[in-house]
Symmetry: C2
Subunit: 296 residues, 2 copies
């Protein structure tokens, strides 16, 4: 009988990162009198977005980071959102600006994100950050939180990245493409698969590392997993589950029960990648604040 | 006996692109009185760099593009180079600025390239251009010339890119990484191989499209090529050849003689990718000049 995969405990690893950030935040206060600050901008009344922002603010409070919350109505104009982002850009108490996505239709996401000063782009989505990530000899100001969280899970679970065959399933701006760039940076051999890929199962069968970020429940079957591979499941898909009180259940892009029979290490959903996103956001915010400290 | 591969004639395809550019340059002159202009900056006295710049200026002249050449000594300071680039940035006759690399040691390449205004970055190496290339929903101002030339060779030779398995050998800033990003954009499934990759021959054996840009003479063996694959060889390596008067010969990263027995289409070296780089530079320069035309 096959040995079961080791679970990669995202909650525990995220807690480690948050503890490190908390220490750094306290040191910055003690040594330089700087209170680290994150501004959160929420436009409209999407319940999921409200929940995410509230989780982020709670995590800030626990790490000693001051959060400045700004709520605009669902009918806010693009100029109103832009004006707010620019004000926050000029506010010295604010080291990082988080604009919760998605934005309402009348507000252009690209224009708003581009208005976040590079020095406060703690989400890491600015094209200059992504460009620097793709280029040797350049270092981005900030790494996007979820893909950076995936890399931290690999490193802190003892997965060898250099020389590994890594398959990234999905090529989104927020996960797939940046995580592929980070894996190349870490000397993995990287294959980017997506909806147009013809032989996804065959490619995954060769993967020492699989990052699944395609947003389709249980898309990756257990027998696609290479024996001993490390599987990072970024998917968060809601499926029906009559056995639950809510009638629903959150599952990843990987058929976890089958995959854990073959993988060497695997992240659960929930409790894998999810907690890392906020932890890396806090880490980026501390990094932003540290950049303001005069050196020497 | 196997059929020999069709040669992808880079000279002929480049001549087509240059003829298209010449037409566009003439139209811009006739309709808007604009003379398209490219500034070339050469620092030091590297013979190869001199030759490249002179080829680029000759190609400009043939396409009706005015070129403004600036030569600085090998001992030029960074401030001198930066000052020149900034002057050219402010010069309305100059639509594109080409800084020939490499620069002497005392001049920081990154600082100089970042001083080229994005609107005149016809080399396409600005991190904002690379970032936009990596992101869905964004379009770079300019695409880097050599990788863009590879894509044009694929398209104009009738190679289906969407859904193809593409292997990019090499991850440099100027070829490997940007061509990988462009192939993803064109819906190929892309694998990025490099010096740390463990099973390069196996990966290449699955490639419908191979872009070799690793800079090692005849690194790719003939029996690694998938039957019918399209092979784009970016390598330009000088090897000894006693049968030549010069005692030397230019060869690609692929063992051409063996590969042409298996490939469906293949670029020769020289005469494949080489001519495309200048053609795409001219295309970018025309594009830059067109952006200055008031619309409507």
């Amino acid at each position: 009988m096959a040995t079961l995969a080791t679970l990669i405990d995202g909650k525990a690893i995220a807690a480690d990162v948050r503890a490190e950030v908390k220490k750094g935040v306290a040191a910055l206060k003690a040594e330089h009198g700087i209170t680290v600050g994150l501004a959160t901008v929420l436009v409209g009344d999407d319940p999921a977005s409200h929940k995410y922002v509230s989780m982020k603010r709670k995590a800030c409070a626990e790490a000693g980071i001051e959060s400045f919350h700004h709520q605009l109505g669902a009918d806010a104009t693009q100029d109103q959102v832009l004006g707010l982002v620019r004000d926050l850009g000029a506010d010295d108490r604010v080291h990082g600006i988080l604009v919760q996505l998605p934005l309402p239709k009348q507000v252009d996401e690209k224009t708003v994100l581009d208005a976040v000063p590079l020095s406060k782009d703690v989400d890491g989505f600015h094209p200059l950050n992504i460009g620097a990530l793709a280029m040797k000899g350049r270092d981005p100001e900030f790494r996007p939180c979820t893909p950076h969280g995936c890399i931290e899970l690999l490193k802190r679970s003892g997965t060898e990245i250099s020389g590994a065959n890594a398959v990234v399933l999905g090529r989104s701006n927020i996960v797939g493409m940046p995580v592929a760039l980070m894996l190349v940076e870490q000397n993995a051999t990287v294959t980017i698969c997506h909806s147009r890929t013809k032989n996804t199962p065959d490619l995954i069968r060769e993967a020492d590392i699989l990052i699944a970020a395609i947003g389709r429940a249980h898309f990756v079957k257990g027998d696609w997993i290479k024996q001993g591979a490390t599987v990072i499941d970024v998917g968060t898909n809601v499926i029906d589950d009559p056995s639950r009180k809510s009638g629903k259940r959150l599952v990843g892009d990987v058929d976890f029960d089958a995959a854990k029979e073959r993988a060497g290490k695997i992240t659960p959903v929930p409790g894998g990648v999810g907690p890392m996103t906020i932890a890396m956001l806090l880490q980026n915010t501390l990094r932003a604040a540290k950049k303001g400290v005069p050196s020497g």
